[in-house]
């Protein structure tokens, strides 16, 4: 699969979900189960992506400079730092550790 195919197919799928919401009966929203699953789905996928992005190296799990970088990011989020500061600080932390080790 090429990058372009991935971009186009994924974009169509994401748009289709948005459009579907305008076409289904509003009563669907009254049922707590679909809403609950959709909200928890976001949390589950993001948590899994954090793990893969922090510890994954292909199909291996490794603990490297990304772990302290994520801890720094968590600390900054806890004090309500802006998103871009959090992201930049994590990149800087990992880069510095790699430079020094």
């Amino acid at each position: 699969m090429t990058s372009w195919q991935i971009i186009i197919l994924a974009s169509i799928a994401v748009f289709a979900l948005k459009l579907a919401g305008y076409l289904v009966p509003p009563s669907l929203l009254e049922r707590p189960r679909p809403a609950r699953i959709a909200n928890l789905m976001t949390v589950a996928l993001l948590a899994a992506l954090i793990v893969v992005q922090t510890l994954g190296a292909g199909t291996r799990i490794v603990f490297d400079a990304r772990v302290p970088a994520l801890i720094v990011a968590a600390g900054l989020l806890a004090v309500r730092a802006p998103f871009i500061v959090v992201v930049a600080a994590a990149a800087t932390t990992a880069a510095l550790i790699r430079l020094l080790t």
């Binding site: 948005k18 579907a20 789905m41 930049a88 994590a90 880069a95 790699r98």
Partner: protein, 246 residues
């Protein structure tokens, strides 16, 4: 009466501008990370223009970064699943901003966390419409401009791991999940999904552990484990607060 209406309208626009500018800045992170994940500048910009949903876009580049285009199916599936909440927002927004076909199509494209949250925070129908369209328009413009700027920066930076941009991607996901971890149920799902992803990473091709972790949400969502006994109406669960991310 007309004064009250226009002050509602102005309040909605003020909220849109504040949220829109703040959110658009994340586009820089996205653009830089997308380029270092292997997309070129044009592909990065097209992804922002066509997909326009931050979480799903970060998922695509996160999985491409770890698995390459071989993980394409998993990248598409993950971004689609991350986009399911947009369908809920759309149901909520349909009576507010729906209409004829061209308008509904544009509204659908701009139905994201922020446009829904700003709209839902307004008290009059006019304010709700203004909040949705202004937030959607400002973020669409800002997000795409910022994506281009970020992609150009990422292109200049070159080698990923040397600069720590792989850690930046992890931090971006953490920033996206952070405002959602306000009660026991999402926290439990996050921990469960993280464990599943870590355990399955050595066993499955890149991308699939993320999809498998989504099952944790389905199981907890179906059983409502750790959930409120008297479930909130669905709409209250969509309330993002001021620090909701795209």
């Amino acid at each position: 009466m007309s004064t009250a209406r226009s002050s509602q309208h102005k309040a909605a626009i003020r909220a849109s501008v504040a949220v829109g500018i703040a959110v658009s800045a994340y586009g820089i992170s996205f653009g830089a990370l997308a380029v270092t994940a292997g997309l070129d500048i044009v592909q990065t910009c097209v992804l922002s223009l066509l997909m326009f949903s931050g979480g799903s876009q970060f998922a695509v580049i996160g999985i491409l970064a770890s698995g390459g285009t071989a993980a394409g199916v998993a990248a598409i599936a993950s971004s689609t699943l991350l986009g399911t909440r947009n369908a809920l927002y759309a149901i909520r927004m349909a009576p507010v901003v729906g209409g004829r076909w061209p308008r509904t199509l544009l509204a659908a494209h701009w139905t994201i966390d922020e446009s829904t949250a700003v709209s839902a925070a307004q008290t009059t129908p006019e304010g709700q419409r203004a909040g949705f369209w202004w937030t959607g328009a400002i973020i669409y413009l800002g997000w795409n401009l910022a994506t281009l700027i970020g992609a150009l920066i990422g292109n200049l930076l070159g080698d990923v791991s040397q600069y720590g941009l792989d850690a930046a991607a992890a931090a971006a996901f953490l920033g996206l999940i952070w405002p959602r971890l306000k009660s026991m149920q999402p926290i439990a799902v996050a921990v469960g999904a993280a464990v599943v992803a870590a355990l399955l990473t050595p066993a499955l091709p890149p991308g699939l552990p993320v999809l498998a972790a989504a099952l944790v949400a389905v199981v907890v969502g179906l059983t409502n484990w750790l959930g409120p006994k008297d479930p909130l109406p669905a709409m209250q669960q969509l309330d993002l607060g001021e620090d909701g991310f795209p």
